[in-house]
Amino acid sequence: MTPSTPKLAIPFVRFELRCGAVLVVSPRPSAPIVSIHIHVRGGPALDPPRRNGMAFLTGALADQGTKRRSEEEIAAALEPEGGEIAGDAGGLSGSIVNERWEMLVDLLAEILTSASYPAPEVARQKQRLLDRLVVEKDDPRVQGGLLFRKLVYGDHWLGRASRGTLESLPRIDARSLRAFRESNWVGRRAVIAVCGDVLPESVRRRFDRVLAKWEPGEPYVPSTPSFPPVARRVDAFTAKRQQVHLYVGHLGIARNDPDYAALVLMDHVLGTGPGFTNRISRRLRDELGLAYSVSANIHASAGLLPGTFTAYIGTSPQHLATAAAGFVEEIRRVQTELVGKDELEVAKSYLIGSFPLGFERASRRASYLVSAELHKFAPDHLERLLAEFAAVSAEDVRRVARAHLFPDGSCIAAAGPIGRAELVKKVSPRPGRARTTRR
């Protein structure tokens, strides 16, 4: 079987705006929606000590008012035109019906440069988030995920709750949000991506005009990250529920890792391929009926910093030991046996053939263009990536599995009707069994 490559082109034009921001515009004739993503480098890495959630609130509450408009006036301008704006720790994004794209540019620019964080609105929205966190502190799904990140990343900001905590949020006020925005949301840290039925030069002119007074500031300089060593760490969040959420994994890879393409293939063989084409779903869900939701993946969380390798299952407590052993055995199998030719070809065919399917939405294209700029992808990156997928061999898959997966050094977090001691007992390998493979 020879994978063929459907045509996919995401043409774009790159500009450097006068304020120092990078603007990437991808024209898409006849598209009904225009999508704009504004990424500001830094994000939660810049959260001050004991104030995690600052970057998130700066983005999330940016639409609560500007020097010119109240939150209600912003909504009144946007909603009847079919527009929406949202913010988070990475910046702002918005979409609108295509013919109103200029209005969206103007509003996003106004928010970006003059969000005023009115004290009453900040207090109200912060309280909403605190109320949500109070409820979530008993939610095993949320707490299991947080626990796993804490085990993997330790005290690094990636191990913290990016939305903040019940303790950190009260330390953040309107004044500190304004100060954070003014210091960190500056032109030279921003990447703006636009996708829709637009002319790139028109978009460039508009942004240059509305961001003319935006402070260029200083580029963001990331610090060298430090993470705990890859080693077995186990913890549990106990709650009365029917299912246990089990997370098994460790520190993963950054997006620029040279093994990225081979690891994507490995993921599809091991735990990401659609339906039951991946081994972990086939075994734990299809054959053993242990779960509705099960997966394993290392490439999806890869970014400028390392993501995680995460194997996840939501299952009944009596199946936990079988599920954990199944993860380990399948990881060992992909590390020791060569992937069969058919299995590899199916994964390649899927990755190559399905590529256009993911890019129908304007927001997906805008998001890709931001990533491409952050990671300095070459203009022909997509084409090259497909060629890299096609070139991956069975030996490559085994090699990268050995190099990047550490079943003995995996952190294990579980949340649900289980305590830490019981978890340790259930996931400890029995002597002589740890290295057996199923087939």
Binding site: P3, S4, P6, S30, A31, P32, I33, N52, E72, A75, E79, P80, E81, G82, V97, R124, Q127, L130, D131, R132, V134, V135, K137, D138, D139, Q143, R160, T165, E167, A239, R241, Q242, Q243, G273, P274, G275, F276, T277, R285, D286, L288, G289, A291, Y292, G314, E345, V346, A347, S349, Y350, L351, G353, S354, F355, P356, L357, E360, R361, A362, G416
Partner: protein, 438 residues
């Protein structure tokens, strides 16, 4: 081909739509759009939990799972393998009224979807060992839902809303009905409901219509249609008008206070259905909606509010969901909601407010028609539940609804004596867990 629409195709989000009917009764909707080199194929069956007997609750959804477990000619796991090897995607879903199967492929290889769908329309294997294995998966899916307080609350409210009609039951069924289910029961169900007369095929995207129709005829044309146009459905009790307000309470191990209100409403595509779309948007659509402004912004009684006009084939449900802010007395929150409902029923919305709601719905439609799968889903759902043409005319119909009709609809349908009020409240001792460290 027995019947086609006229020479001028209808258009939705840039897709040119034509309807055809094969000799065996299969409806084929071709929606041609060339924006991306992608084709979505959806096969819709007019069967869902509404068609189940009480003892077989959950069989429609369980059968949907089994449709991926092999046919006489396609082995177990082969549907996923074929889809994947062609770089495609597939999935399926079940509701109270219908079951739908979805494929998306690049436009040079999409016809494989027709081959698979035609094969499993008639030749599903239903192997007993696979049936037993997949039953465990469905029970785990049910357990997953039972860990979600909103799902548990809405299930209890829905059970109370319809006293006898199958709309009361959750689509996934119950633990006891699933455990007792036999493969023979499922085979009978499959044979009753899966056939060309009870299905609508939607093909949307970058294809040539004549070739697509020929491919559909080639794959499905040889399947014999049933003589009876509509499959045998169970005895269904009539929908009863509620005899008064009913209240349910669920306790949960967290500090959330969740409110769910529900009213029985109307069939999809009726005049009141469009009016309820507007009522829903006026109440909870966007940051300028009445309930968001009052409950979340002005009085800080709630952290979130949403509503949903869930119109179905025989009747609908109007849902209202509110999560209370911490420390707020549930009775105070409920009073505020009631006052807004009373206002909606008593006084017409202003022209500006109604215009905002109509434009918000129109914008939502643009967002929800961005991909070929979006369009296929909209067409297919209207086709099996009512008429596919409603997917094209819905916005015009909503635009034509006057403020007086929204008010009248709220006064008739969204009143306390017709509703179920459900609360999910903290169990005694909930929230005593120490707070996580920063």
């Amino acid at each position: 081909m027995r019947r086609s629409t006229g020479t001028k195709p209808a258009v939705k989000a840039g897709a040119r739509i034509r309807e055809h009917r094969l000799e065996n009764g299969l409806t084929v909707l071709l929606a041609e759009r060339h924006l991306d080199p992608v084709v979505a194929v959806m096969l819709w069956y007019r069967v869902g939990s509404r068609d189940e007997e009480e003892r077989e609750a959950g069989v429609s959804h369980f059968l949907e799972h089994m449709m991926f477990k092999g046919t006489r000619s396609i082995g177990k796991g082969e549907i996923d393998r074929l889809t994947t090897s062609l770089g495609g995607m597939n999935n399926a879903f079940t509701t109270a009224d219908h079951t739908a199967y979805w494929f998306e492929f690049a436009s040079d290889r999409w016809e494989k979807a027709l081959e698979i769908e035609a094969d499993r329309m008639r030749h599903l294997l239903l192997d007993p060992a696979e049936f037993d294995s997949e039953k465990k998966v469905v029970l785990e899916e049910l357990a997953m839902g039972d860990d979600d307080p909103w799902r548990v609350l809405t299930r209890e409210v829905q059970l109370a809303l319809f006293k006898r009609h199958p709309y009361r039951r959750p689509v996934i069924g119950f633990t006891d009905s699933l455990k007792a289910m036999r493969v023979e029961d499922m085979r009978d169900y499959y044979q009753r409901f899966y056939g060309p007369t009870n299905a609508v095929l939607v093909i949307c995207g970058d294809f040539e219509p004549q070739k697509a129709l020929a491919a559909a005829r080639r794959q499905f044309g040889r399947i014999a249609g049933k003589t009876d146009a509509a499959p045998r459905a169970p005895y269904r009790p009539a929908l009863e008008e509620p005899a008064g307000e009913f209240r349910v309470e669920v306790r949960w191990d967290d500090e959330g206070r969740r409110l769910c209100m529900a009213w029985p409403t109307v069939s999809v595509g009726t005049d009141e259905d469009w009016a309820l779309d507007l009522a829903s948007t006026l109440l909870a659509g966007g940051k300028l909606s009445r309930l968001y402004r009052r409950l979340v912004v002005e009085q800080r009684l709630a952290t979130s509010v949403s509503s949903h006009n869930d119109s179905r084939v025989e009747a609908g449900i109007f849902w209202l969901f509110v999560e209370a802010a911490q420390g707020v007395d549930p009775r105070r929150l409920e009073r505020a909601v009631d006052e807004e409902l009373e206002r909606l029923a008593a006084k017409e919305a202003t022209a500006a407010e109604l215009t905002r709601a109509k434009r918000l719905i129109a914008a939502g439609e643009a967002h929800e028609s961005e991909t070929v799968s979006d369009i296929a889903e909209d067409l297919g759902e209207f086709a099996v539940d009512a008429r596919w043409q409603l997917a094209l005319s819905a916005l015009d119909r909503i635009a034509a609804v006057p403020a007086s009709a929204v008010r009248a609809c709220a006064a008739k349908l969204l009143v306390p004596q017709r509703r179920v009020v459900g609360w999910c409240l903290p169990r005694a001792g909930a929230g005593k867990r120490p707070r996580p460290k920063p």
